[in-house]
Subunit: 345 residues, 2 copies
């Protein structure tokens, strides 16, 4: 085993799933902090010190055991999550101490993982970018917009949850593709940030403005691509304003994440205006990034080039302190975060 | 003017729109029968005696003035509708007396129309076929299934409103394309007719069976193409059983035709399970036949060949007597008809 010179503690902390937030809002009491002996790497494994954790609404689904795209979880098991860690000790020829790796670290200060489940943070890429625009977040925005939404130059692109991690990147990719980009988000400050900092053409504050009349003003010819992270009333209102041949991308549905999907009485109403698809010959399509594996390499190359050029900027929202991990995840569901939610350990 | 030898009456009957059925069910009192002098053809026009009238749910939308695809209507104007008539007198070089023509005759025993708005019933095609499988009905089924639904051999195709005019043709086209075809309709007799007479692989009576559990049994691997004529709970249940990469074709929505679409409190709930599109990468798309004009000629050629071969059969439901036109249209909304609803004058 190769190790760094750093002195290692004998005990370390990790966050466990204490309860399943199924059919209700996520709460701080759904997590429990525990102290355990420092784990030791076995053959083919590395010991990492967590530097950053990444937060995504899909983690609530993992806690509920309803995420078909993730391994099942147990009450009392370590809270899953992507992160970036520095190798402290290695029993794998793949990685030497000091290497910065990305992978499913979970909410642990120190994690032992098989080397095969980790990948190096690319040269010259900061940890926060590697978890954001140049990680799953950017990939989701790229695949959803370009492969599902397929905008053409001049198209009117409307994005809900536009100040979130994925929405803010999708809008910038749309702008690079020649779209007129309109963001929908909650709050004046978020709106201003989208227009001033990220180059959106306009933004609508759904909390203080009337969405339907604002859409009428801003999209007189209709919406060509609607990139939806929210669902509920926002999706319904946008379906009433589609342009001929429009594409509706279902990326997320934060309006429904507090419901048990098996209990219709909890789930927000479906979009009554789905019938707007008929008169416009429009398409509504859902996706997960793993449905488009063949496009991942090109996507990462293009995203990396755009970030290096300054054509795409990452908005990030960094909480500090390992003990604040539950609070960081909760921010996603209260709409407090602007851009990519991260935690610096 | 050339005329037939037939003795013409001096007066004739027509059905007028007496009220708009907006936000409620269609009623017999929405129509008024009136007697008028026999109209005379002007230059370029023909006088037709109506032989058959065709009925379609979209006619309710025309009465409501909410059909973007049709000319506006007025209270007191002649009820619009497609039909087939025989030329009795002609002031157009295009058509001679005796010709059978198809066009927007309206609910009139005798109609005068510009020759340019009419087309001949193809040689060897019966009037009822020309208004059904070899008319807009067949075209709608063909375009919706093949150009929007795009089934592959071996796909599981589920059709709602399967005993209706469009549904019964779409199912037969799917069967010719190698799909396993499952129809959803209301009533045991309709189910039996689909399986015995039209070659559907299975049928579900949504009135007496539990749709969700029957779909689980019949489509264990999920639905590849769902062709929807109904909406409401049927659409919602099918969205919960999509196979990866499924296509949902929104052709009609009979569940919502009694609602004023501008009044959300009247419109049936939207499909909560639209989020099923995400995990399956599935697509939901609407269409009208005029969105696919470039495919109409090929569609008609193929439909004609299938009908001649006996590969596609038309189920038709013929009401007799001009005075029964309102009753014939009402049958569509009570689900009484099996196959194409026609009226023989």
């Amino acid at each position: 085993m190769t190790t760094t010179d750093q002195t290692l503690p004998s005990r370390t902390r990790q966050w466990l799933i204490a309860d399943r937030p199924l059919g209700r809002a996520l709460a701080a009491t759904d997590f429990r902090l525990e102290e355990v002996p420092l784990p030791q790497p076995g053959e083919g494994q590395v010991l990492l010190r967590t530097r950053y954790l990444s937060f995504d609404p899909s983690q609530k689904g993992m806690m509920e055991n309803l995420a078909s795209y993730a391994e099942p979880t147990d009450i009392g098991s370590v809270m899953p999550g992507q992160g970036i860690g520095e190798v402290l000790a290695s029993r794998s020829p793949k990685y030497a101490p000091g290497a910065l790796l990305r992978g499913p670290l979970g909410w642990r200060e120190y994690a032992v993982l098989d080397a095969s489940r980790l990948e190096p943070v690319p040269e010259g890429v900061s940890p926060s970018l590697a978890l954001g625009v140049l990680g799953m977040t950017g990939l989701t925005a790229y695949i959803g917009l370009l492969h599902v939404g397929r905008p053409k130059p001049g198209d009117v692109l409307v994005i809900s949850g536009a100040a979130g991690a994925v929405g803010s990147v999708a809008g910038q990719i749309g702008r690079l593709g020649g779209c007129r980009v309109i963001g929908i988000c909650g709050g004046r400050e978020k709106c201003e940030s989208l227009v001033r900092e990220l180059g959106f053409d306009a933004a609508i504050d759904y909390k203080s403005e009337k969405l339907r009349s604002r859409l009428r003003e801003l999209c007189p010819g209709g919406i060509d691509v609607f990139f939806d992270n929210v669902g509920g009333a926002i999706l319904n209102d946008c379906l009433a304003r589609l342009a001929p041949g429009a594409r509706v991308v279902i990326c997320g549905g934060i309006a429904r994440y507090n419901a048990d999907p098996r209990k219709p009485e909890q789930v927000p109403p479906g979009p009554q205006n789905y019938f707007g698809l008929v008169h416009t010959n429009a398409t509504m399509q859902g996706f997960l990034v793993h449905h488009y594996l063949e496009h991942h390499a090109t996507a990462m190359q293009r995203l990396t080039a755009w970030v290096k050029d300054g054509a795409i900027r990452q908005k990030e929202d960094i909480v500090e302190g390992f003990e604040n991990a539950p609070r960081a995840l909760l921010r996603l569901f209260s709409g407090t975060n602007v851009g990519k939610q991260l935690l610096k350990v």
